[in-house]
Each structure stands twice: as structure tokens, then as C-alpha cells.
Amino acid sequence: MADVLQSFVQSSLSKGMPQAELEQTLIKAGWPKDIVLKYLHKGTEPITPSKNAQIRAQGVSKSFDGKRVLDNVNLEIVQGEIFGIIGQSGSGKTTLLQIIAGLTQPEQGDVVVFLPSGPQSVRQSPEAMRSFIGYAAQQPSLYPDLTVEENLSHFGQVFGLSERAAKQKAASLLKLVGLADSKAVRAGNLSGGMQKRLDIACALVHDPKLLLMDEPVADLDVVLRTHLWDVLRSINKQGTTIVIASHFLADLESFCDRIGIMRNGRVAETGTPDELRVIYSRNQEVRVELGSHAYDELLASLKRQNIDVAKTIKETGAIKIQTSQPTSVVESIVQFSKQRKDALLHLEVGRPSVRELFEELFT
């Protein structure tokens, strides 16, 4: 029942129905008010402060040109974790990161960043926390006319490093992001992926305690992406809290300690990838690989048996079947294989990935 209500609420909100109208509609339909409010305000309820919070956003709202981008966001990110933020385009991920970084002031609410010197409000003293925050935006933010090394050295010195220390730091970071051979190249002449890496290096030049990254691996190939995640892990191990907004959900799923799902300007849910899969997925996913690849016949067989098949995802040589009746599906697959004397090469039952969950949530 709750899943039905949740689906309806999500669908209605995604279609742009005002929250007040939706609330009245549901109450008139006979839903208990407390349950309606619980689902409607999920993600906006006050959070319970934890002792080791690194960032705490409370009631943060922000609009641009009359359009509410963030709507009463409450979120807490603890020290030392890697926190991923996912959401559709325009869901407010970047705005939330910018507010945390102090680049944008919230209209309502506040974000408190807990620093070694004490908690700092981004509304009251955004400059105070900048020495502790590194930020890599979607678009690289560099001086295109300066060389790679000059960019790093300049920002390092602005953060208080001596010229020598800044150069040493630049050299180590360039090695870290794989740009050591390009230190004399002007930033504007770098490829998109190289600029992105340089931008990340710039975000790390002052050893920030909190690293905010918006789509950090968007322009990187698989090798570099893997390399970057390794780098970030090593940085995280040194105590740096990392917050990442990314569309690479599979990477986030495997990389992040926790993930926050943003929808319609709110953080709809936070949790570990496993927690999210449990919370959001009514179905389990059965992945099967038959020697005959006769998946259409398999699906027809399941349909004839009235077994629930919520979604199918065809892969090369295999198929994923999301169902609320995984046991029945597994039994039918085994039966189908035996009857057709087809080789059952692979059979796996599990939760859908966060990406699939994401797609399910927003489609």
C-alpha cells in the first residue's frame, strides 16, 4: 500500500502538481493525513543532529527566476564519508553544492559546516570556510591563458603556500592527475578531460577538509575515471570528506559510502546504496543467461503463468527481470530450461542497481 502511495506521490510531483493540491487530493481520496504528510514531506522533515556531522543543511530553499530549485532541504553529511548526490537534471544538486561551498546564499535555511575551528554558517561567513573547502565544478574553472603549472601554483599561493611549496604541491598534484607532462601547456589548450583533471587538482591544491565535486568524471575515460576514484579514495582516507554529484550512478554506487537522492528540489532519501535499494525497490532482479537466448519465449512463459514481471532489461546474451515474485521467476526459469533442454548458463537474484533504481524512480 505504501509503495502505491509513494509511487503516486512521486508521479504527481514529477508532473508538477503543487504539493498542497496533491495533499488535498490524497486526503479526499481517503488516505490518512499523517501518512500523506509523511510521504509528502519526506526529505523535508528535520534531521536529528549527529555528533560527527561535517555538513548540516537545514531548511535550505533557493529559487532562480521564481522557480524553486531547492525546497526546504535537510541533509547531514558526516565527517570522513564519501557522499554521493544523484538526481535528475535541475533537481538542485549543483545548487546544493554551491550553497555548501558558500558560492550561493540560500533564501531560507542555512548550511553549517563543521570545521576544526568550529561550526561555520555559510550564510553568515561564507569566506571563513573557503580554506577548508575544495570545489570542482561541472565546468573546469581555470585561467585558460596560464599554463597548467601556473594555474596550480597561483591558486596554491593564494591559499597561503609559498611559491616553492606551491610549485612542489603543483608537481605532486599533476603527477596525481596524470598531467605532469603537460605542466607547460596553457590550460585553454588542454582537452576537456585534461582540463577537468587540472580543475580537480586545483580543488585539491590546499588540502581541503571538505571536497565538493560536481560531475568530476564526466569527461574522463574509463581508465582515468578509475584512476580518479582511486585518488579520491586515498584523499578520503586521509580524513577528507567528499561530496560528489554525479550521473555515473554505477561509480557512485560502488564508490560512495552514502547516497542522497534529490527530486524536485528535495533530498528524497539518503542512505547507503544497499539501504536505498531496499527502500526504493519493491522488486528483486533476476539475471538469467540461457544458451539459446530464447528470452522472448521465457517472458511469454512467465506471462502465461501470471508471474509478475515489472521490468526487463536485455543485455548482451542475458536478460534482467525485475519482479516482485523472484522465487516464482526462478522456478519458472529452471522449468523452462529443463523443458527446452536449454543450457542455463547463469542465474542470479539480487537487488536492482542504484542506476536502475534511479531510472525506475524518474521514469
Binding site: A101, T104, R130, Y135, Q139, P140, S141, P144, N151, C202
Partner: protein, 567 residues
């Protein structure tokens, strides 16, 4: 739609999306027209400040000073010509009038007008105004001098008019005397000539005739007597030689002697007869002469009669000549009056009437190249627009730079960023200043105050940079910033001495324009660069105060403005 129209439409749409840009685009021409219309609604200097130095005060120089003072010219006297010229250099005075020499009335005087050609726009209205004032006075002087000449001529004319009757009278008298003399000549000349000519010729002719006759007679008688004597001598010889008796001989000799005596008598007789004949003839001649003398006497009597009338005529002539003498005396008096009137005209030099005061315009420096004079102002114009454009473009370039986000994440206070923009802009403008001074020093080679000029230029740069930064702080788009800076630049330019002299503006407006950094800077750079005046640095003090005020405003605005937020 045509791609050109499509693109143009999109450009316009993009432009008008910013209300501030639209407002500026529309406001720029209106404001410029308004200011220009207001500023150019004048055709003369409201007030002219002129320093005056006179080597020796004269009535003429004082009167000229008095005249130009009545022409909205403020006059300040200086003790030396150098002080007067320096005052122009320093801008205290707009021109210096130097009265050289005695500056006496009626002489051709030279008035040196020292001006500063580096005040390019002020120079011509100033000259126009001063020349107008001086021309008035010069005209008055010329008029005075010409009046004295005309008065003298008038007196001469009146004298001549007055004596014209005397001349007519004199002419009439002379004519009358002439006529009388003519008549006299007519009556005298024929009688005298005819009398003398006929009488003399007749007497001479008659005398000659008679003398000839007598001579012929005497000659014939002498020849006869000589023949007779020869005959008698021959007879005597023949008698002596003859054989006749002595008595006979004696008797014959006695007869021959008688014959000789006879011959002698004959000769004598012949002589007497001839003389008598000549006397008779001469008597006849004399009688004829007597007759003619009688006729001549008659004529002389007639002449005597004429002489009587001649005497009467001569008396008449004498009386007329006496009358003429009186007239001549009157004319003499008239000439004396004319001489006296001409002596009253003291002007002897025609130039003194045509240009009683000759104004010589002299520059306060020895330079004659107009470009040299204009160079300080050109430098200020360069710094004016550089200062207005460079800082906002730097600031907006930083904002629109790909690095803008990262810069905004830097732990730097806004004031530090402002200081950095100021320093960078000042460095650029400073480099421009040095470059311009190098050009000035190398190519124009006339400047004596490069170092104070550099300091002045840096102060000007600082002020302009601060204004430009204010634009960059208040404006968020490059186009809008450029338009705004140009608008401010043009307004500052118009309200400076570069285009129109401030002294032509209304007094309150002129006073307001004195706060224009371009005006203060222009004055200072002119003084320092052209005249090597370190004192110009003191005048820059006002500019520094303006800079200070601007800096405070900049900080207040920078603090008051909402922080630009990243979208």
C-alpha cells in the same frame, strides 16, 4: 526568415534582455546631447583673468586697462613681466598683457599679449575676447587721434572758406591791374617804335647820301685840280724849256701862276660849292627830318597824352595792388592759422592713427609646435579613457573568465580583490604613462618636467582607475560597462578644458567642473610637463582628495552591493 535578419533579431533580443543595457544605450545619446547642448550654449568667455605688467604707467596704458576691465576682464597687476608670465603658466591668469616702453599717446605702441597655447580651447575665445576689448580701446585711440586731425582739417577748411573771398578779391584786383597794364602796353609800344625807326634811318640815309655826294665831288675836284696842276707844271716845264724871252717867259710864268692860283681857287671853290650843295641837300633832309620830328613831336604829344592816362592807370593799378597787399596779409594770417591748426595735430606717424596700439601675441613658452602644446592633454585623454575602461573590463573579464568560479572560492576578502584590480589597472596605466613620457622626451624634446609629470600622471591614473572600478563594481555586463565608461569619459571630457573652456560655462557649472579629475589633472600635467613646475604636485593634492573620496565610495558600494552569486 533571412539568416541575417534572424541573427540580427537575436542580437537585439539578447541586448534588450538587459534593461540596464537598454537604458544605457538609450540614455547615452540623450545625456550627451543634453550636456553638449548645455555646454555649447555659449559663445564667449564669461570672465577673463588677465595679468598686467607695465614698465612705466602711462595715461594710455591705464586707460587701456580701464577699458578691458569694463569688458568682463579681471585684471591683476604684477610687478615684473616674469611674474605676469609665470601666472599664465601656472594657470592663475589666462593671459598676460605687457605694456612695453613709454606707451605714449600718439605714438605707435606695442602691447605684448602672452598666452598659453597649451590651453588649446581657451586660447581662441580668450584672444577673441581680449582682442575685442583691445580693439575697442585701440579704436577709441585711433578715433581720438583721427578726430584731432579732422578737427585741424576742419579749422583749415574754415580758414580757407573764410579767406576765399580775399582770394577772389585779390584775383579781381590782379586781373584789373593786368588789364590796365595791357592797355598801357598797347598805348606805349607802337609810338616809340615807329618814331625811332623812321627818324634814325632817314637821318642816316640822308647823311650817307650827302657824304657820298660830297666825297664824289671832292674827289672829282681833287682829280681835276691834280690834272690842272700837272698841266700847269707841264706848262711851266715847257716854258722853262722854251726859248721865249724871259719876259715872255715871265709873263707866261705869271699867267701860269695865276692859272695855278685859279686852280687852287677852283679847288677851294669846288669844295665850297660842294659843301654848300651838301648843306642844301642836308637842309632839305633836315627839313624833312624836322617835318618828321614835328610829326614825331605830335606823336610824342600823343604819347604824353597817353602817358597821362597811363599814369592814371598806374595809379589805379597801384591802388589795386595796395588792396591786394591787404588781401595777401589776410591770406598770410590764414596760412598762419592753418599752420597753427596743423601744429595742433601731434600725430606724425600714420601707424599711430591706423593702429595706435599694436598687439603682439606671444606664447608663454618658446615652443611653436601646436602638437607640443596639445600633448599633455592628449595624455590625460588617454589616461581618462584607459582608466575608465581598463578596470571594469578587467573586473568583468575576471567575472566572465572560466576561472571566475574558482576565484570566488578563494579565501580572499572583497577589498583585497579590489586592491588587486586597482594595482593591476594602475600598473597598466602607469606603463602607458611611462610610454607616453618616453615618446614626449624622445620625439618632442621640449619637456623639462618628466619626473613631476610622471607622478602627476600616476595620480591621474589612480583617480581614473577608481572611477573605472566603480563602474566595474556597479555594472555586470561588459557592453554596459563599456557604454557607461564611454558616457562618463565623454562627460568628463566635455566638462573639461579639452573641448570647451570652462570659463565659458555658467559660473556654478564651471565651479562644479573644477572638481573634474580631468580638469585638475590636465592643469597639473600641463604645468609639470611644459613648465617643469614641481608645484603642480601640490595642485594634484586636490586630485588625491578626489581619489580618496572615490576609494571610500568604492568600498562602501563594494560592501553594500549584494555579492554576485554563482548560478
Amino acid at each position: 526568415m533571412n539568416p541575417v535578419l534572424l541573427l540580427a533579431k537575436n542580437h537585439v533580443r539578447t541586448l534588450v534582455r538587459s534593461r540596464a543595457t537598454v537604458l544605457t544605450v538609450l540614455a547615452v545619446p540623450l545625456i550627451l546631447l543634453l550636456i553638449a547642448g548645455f555646454v555649447f550654449d555659449t559663445n564667449s568667455l564669461n570672465r577673463v583673468r588677465v595679468g598686467v605688467w607695465s614698465s612705466s604707467a602711462s595715461e594710455l596704458s591705464e586707460s587701456i586697462i580701464s577699458t578691458i576691465q569694463q569688458e568682463s576682464v579681471t585684471v591683476h597687476q604684477y610687478d615684473t613681466q616674469e611674474e605676469c608670465v609665470d601666472a599664465v603658466k601656472q594657470g592663475d591668469q589666462q593671459a598676460c598683457l605687457a605694456f612695453v616702453g613709454t606707451f605714449a599717446r600718439g605714438a605707435s605702441n606695442t602691447l605684448n599679449l602672452y598666452i598659453d597655447p597649451s590651453r588649446t580651447t581657451l586660447m581662441y575665445p580668450l584672444l577673441q575676447s581680449l582682442e575685442s576689448a583691445l580693439a575697442i580701446r585701440s579704436d577709441e585711440l585711433g578715433k581720438d587721434l583721427a578726430t584731432s586731425v579732422v578737427t585741424a582739417l576742419q579749422a583749415i577748411r574754415e580758414t580757407v572758406e573764410l579767406r576765399k573771398g580775399s582770394i577772389v578779391t585779390l584775383t579781381t584786383s590782379i586781373n584789373g591791374a593786368g588789364h590796365s597794364i595791357g592797355q598801357l602796353a598797347t598805348s606805349i609800344t607802337p609810338a616809340n617804335v615807329s618814331l625811332n625807326a623812321s627818324l634814325a634811318s632817314e637821318v642816316v640815309a640822308a647823311g650817307a647820301s650827302h657824304t657820298q655826294q660830297v666825297d664824289q665831288f671832292l674827289n672829282a675836284t681833287a682829280a681835276l685840280a691834280e690834272d690842272l696842276a700837272d698841266q700847269l707844271e707841264a706848262v711851266d716845264f715847257a716854258l722853262n724849256a722854251s726859248t721865249l724871252s724871259n719876259t715872255s717867259k715871265q709873263s707866261l710864268r705869271s699867267q701860269v701862276a695865276n692859272a695855278s692860283a685859279f686852280v687852287d681857287d677852283l679847288v677851294d671853290e669846288a669844295n665850297v660849292t660842294t659843301a654848300d650843295l651838301a648843306v642844301v641837300n642836308l637842309t632839305g633832309t633836315l627839313e624833312g627830318i624836322a617835318a618828321k620830328l614835328a610829326a614825331t613831336k605830335a606823336q610824342i604829344d600823343a604819347v604824353a597824352a597817353v602817358q597821362g592816362s597811363l599814369a592814371a592807370n598806374l595809379h589805379a593799378v597801384k591802388s589795386k595792388l595796395d588792396a591786394s597787399l591787404l588781401t595777401v596779409a589776410e591770406l598770410q594770417k590764414g596760412f598762419n592759422d592753418i599752420t597753427a591748426a596743423l601744429e595742433g595735430v601731434t600725430v606724425t606717424d600714420p601707424d599711430a592713427i591706423a593702429a595706435p596700439v599694436k598687439t603682439v601675441i606671444l606664447p608663454v613658452t618658446s615652443e611653436t609646435n601646436y602638437r607640443t602644446y596639445a600633448f599633455p592633454f592628449l595624455m590625460v585623454i588617454v589616461l581618462l579613457f584607459s582608466g575608465l575602461l581598463v578596470p571594469p573590463l578587467l573586473m568583468l573579464a575576471e567575472q566572465s573568465s572560466p576561472a571566475a568560479l574558482r576565484v570566488s572560492l578563494l579565501p580572499i576578502k572583497p577589498i583585497v580583490k579590489l586592491q588587486a584590480f586597482f594595482l593591476a589597472s594602475l600598473a597598466i596605466l602607469g606603463a602607458q604613462s611611462v610610454l607616453m613620457l618616453i615618446v614626449a622626451g624622445l620625439f618632442l624634446q621640449v619637456f623639462v618636467g618628466l619626473l613631476p609629470a610622471l607622478l602627476v600622471l600616476l595620480v591621474i591614473s589612480a583617480v581614473m582607475t577608481l572611477i573605472g572600478m566603480l563602474v566595474g563594481l556597479l555594472v555586470s555586463r561588459e557592453l554596459l560597462a563599456v557604454l557607461t565608461s564611454i558616457l562618463i569619459g565623454v562627460v568628463l571630457l566635455v566638462l573639461s578644458d579639452f573641448i570647451i573652456p570652462l570659463d565659458t560655462l555658467p559660473r556654478w557649472f564651471s565651479a562644479l567642473a573644477q572638481l573634474n579629475p580631468a580638469v585638475i589633472g590636465g592643469e597639473a600635467i600641463r604645468s609639470s610637463l611644459l613648465f617643469g613646475d614641481w608645484g603642480s604636485l601640490l595642485s594634484v593634492g586636490a586630485l588625491i582628495i578626489v581619489a580618496g573620496v572615490l576609494a571610500v565610495v568604492l568600498l562602501v558600494v563594494g560592501h553594500a552591493l549584494p555579492r554576485k552569486q554563482v548560478r
